[in-house]
Amino acid sequence: MTIMTDPPRESFRLGMLLSDTRYRSLTLQAIAFILLALSIGYLANNLVRNLTALGLNIDFSFLGTPAGYDINQRLIEYTSQSSNLRAAFVGILNTLLVAFLACVTATIFGVLAGVLRLSNNWLVRKLMSIYVEIFRNIPVLIWIIIIFTIMTAVLPGPRAFRGDNATSSMLFDAFAFTNRGVYIPAPIWGPGSMVVVATFIASIVAMFAYRRYATNLLYATGRLLPMFWPSVAIFFLPAILMFFIMGSPIGLEYPELKGFNFAGGIKVGGPLIAIWFALSIYTGAFIAENVRAGIQAVSKGQTEAAGALGLRSGRIMSLVVLPQALRVIIPPLISNYLNITKNSSLAILVGYADVTATLGGITLNQTGRAIECVVLLMLFYLVISLTISFVINIYNNAIKLKER
């Protein structure tokens, strides 16, 4: 940032600042710096003049005062007496929640559609390309509103589940789709349930350890151990065994119709589902294109060479094609995750209390602290994006073709 010009004592003329390549870039940077400083100064001056004219100041103390509004979707304890800062945190957690859920489902949709687009079934191929084109070419905002409308205007109210001649019924007696949200069974953690969970975590670790061992063995000696079924067995069996040994400590609490509404279970609000599902299918269409491009980017010769070496088609996929395709697929995939996180700010439209709706919406409107709120909001998204691009860079460096 500092501009140091250290002109030689003799034979320096002012014209050399522009004509001599030794000085020209310094001169240009100095000019740019001055211009930038002047424009920032001009904007800052305008800001100060405007704020004094309106009797405002920049002050972050509003974060400590009670927010005074309720948030119905929250992951941490929050009441209307909590501070604005805590409301912002509730919003941040909600943003991360919906972003995480949407990333998972968008990947599933995207990989499925991308692979099916390459299927040799004509009908499925066409259907998937229609899906991709329709969802990529219509704004995500419209999708969010359409799905929210389905959630609120088409699904029946809790009243429809009541009485002997109920017009709606619960799916498997466990899932209720109502216009107030979807009710799903909630797990009940009995005594000893921690043991089951611990076993489950240990078996996941064991599964990865086994796969690693098998891969190492393959590379070291060429001996091939079966991979898929042992992994499945290690993943499920110990936890299920432990579940019955401990006497079924984990139960399910089913939602039930009580009075005018459902009680028990977990309520997943309509706004959350709308934004989650809309982001998933919208971004899924983009991911499908990435997956398709990635698989097509692996040249056919690779498959043929692997076939010539005598590999079976499953192994060709997992050992030759996928590792090379993933190199192409993963960077845009992560940037799609970033897009999901940024697009989750549209949740404000359907009343989902993400950070844009709490900090940038209600808090901003109630306190009138526009500048502070918007700056904090941008800072939050900036931190998330920079973290994710940092991860992308690490990954890109790790998978870069190592040329000797």
């Binding site: 740019a32 305008n46 003049r49 040799n120 070419n137 419209i142 439209l349 998204y381 920079l386 691009s389």
Partner: protein, 432 residues
């Protein structure tokens, strides 16, 4: 001789056996279906599932379209006509099409003005999009911004004429000096244009016209799909030069300029557009002089332009990086200076490589113009959510309206992306 040989060897056939037709299951549609639909059991299952899905969609949607009502005054009347049968109330479209397209405050007797502007836009865009058209049409392109401004906002023709005069003056100065030095021509042109605008602006009377065919329409009266199109076209075309400048800045060897560009690009790309629109609606006004009133449309244009220029800069940077280093070195060895090398050698190639990326950004940006409905501007989405769904006549008509909005956006976005694929094929100069 010939007779002899054919007769002497009796068991040799003398005429060709006609080819027998292929078996029924190895030809025609049956073969096609066997290969493409029922080749394996998994495929057969997939086909049946897909066919079932398509069947459900068609049987569900067909009566809704076929029984659609196109001529009722309100939802209640439409439902009365339908009498419980399935059918769409498309009359909301025939009733409110003008609001969907132009917003609810644009004077109806002036609809011809934006329509005419749209037609001229098609003319102006054509020579840019299709290189084989006569180059003379570019004159329309150059005049289009001024004509469109005058047609859409109305008012005195002197305002766009002054803007045109400024640009023309700037261009004269630029072409006078550019042969000596690009920088001198460029900045001289900008200064000349600003001089003309300031001097002319102080002389010019207030151009507001209150009635007649060219009466002024304030920005807040614009709306509907027209607003989406205007924002999309304006912001993409404004952000192209800024994006090129940012991309070059990011490649620059001067650390200060490079880092300013990097910080700007990463900042803009790191925040959602909606926060930038919040800036436009609640914060940007603080950064203008207190006496200036900058209307919301202009503030939104500024923020969306900054947003898309950061994305376009990244696309163009990719194009610059994809050029072989030999091109830069060749330009240097010819003795070209920086501006000449960029203008004559680097940018034409880099921009060509980045066209698909730029089109992608343009499509994304056009879809994102719907976000302005969040800051209470009445674009297409804002119109549907606000005035139309809130009206007593049409409260509850969801699917017809959202279908119409989706179709409008789909046509434009799909058209642009098809054009981009076509252009990629046209521009492919690589070895085939």
């Amino acid at each position: 001789m010939a007779d002899q040989s054919t007769n002497s060897v009796a068991f040799v056939r003398t005429e060709e056996v006609p080819a027998s037709p292929p078996p029924a299951n190895a030809a025609g549609p049956v073969k096609w279906m066997r290969e493409n639909l029922f080749s394996t059991p998994v495929n057969t299952v997939l086909t049946i599932v897909a066919a079932y899905v398509i069947f459900k969609i068609i049987t569900g949607a067909f009566p809704w379209f076929a029984n659609g009502i196109w001529n009722s005054q309100s939802l209640a009347e439409c439902r009365e006509i339908l009498q419980g049968t399935t059918g769409g109330c498309f009359s909301v479209l025939s009733e409110r099409w003008n609001q969907l397209l132009f917003g609810f405050k644009y004077p109806p007797e002036l609809y011809w003005r934006p329509t005419l502007a749209f037609v001229i836009f098609l003319l102006a865009a054509a020579p840019v999009l299709f290189f084989k058209l006569p180059r003379k049409l570019l004159i329309v392109t150059a005049l289009f911004p001024f004509i469109a401004y005058w047609l859409i906002w109305g008012g005195s023709i002197l305002t766009p004429l002054l803007a045109l005069a400024g640009v023309a003056g700037g261009y004269v100065v630029y072409s006078r000096f550019v042969t000596n030095n690009f920088a001198m021509g460029f900045f001289g042109g900008i200064i000349a244009a600003f001089l003309i605008w300031t001097i002319g602006g102080s002389i010019l009377p207030d151009g507001t016209i209150t009635d007649g065919p060219m009466q002024s329409v304030p920005s807040r009266d614009l709306g509907g799909f027209m607003l989406n199109l205007m924002l999309g076209v304006t912001c993409v075309s404004l952000s192209l030069p800024i994006g090129i400048a940012l991309a070059l800045g990011r490649q620059s060897s001067m650390p200060f300029i490079k880092y300013v560009c990097v910080i700007f690009i990463e900042f803009i790309r790191g925040v959602p557009l909606i926060t930038l629109l919040f800036v436009a609606s609640v914060m940007l006004a603080y950064f203008f002089p207190p006496e200036a009133t900058v209307d919301l449309f202009l503030r939104v244009v500024i923020m969306i332009t900054l947003f898309s220029s950061a994305y376009i800069a990244e696309v163009i940077r990719g194009g610059l990086a994809a050029l072989p280093k030999g091109q830069y070195e060749a330009a240097d060895s010819l003795g070209l200076d920086y501006a000449q090398a960029m203008r004559l050698i680097i940018l034409p190639q880099a921009l060509k490589i980045s066209i698909p990326g730029i089109v992608n950004v343009a499509v994304g940006l056009f879809k994102d113009t719907t976000l302005v409905s969040v800051i209470s501007m009445f674009d297409l989405v804002g119109m549907i959510r606000g005035p139309i769904l809130a009206s007593t006549e049409w409260n509850g008509v969801y699917w017809e309206l959202w279908l119409a909005a989706s179709v409008l956006f789909f046509i434009v976005c799909y058209g642009i992306s098809q054009y981009s694929q076509w252009l990629e094929r046209q521009l492919a100069t690589g070895h085939r």
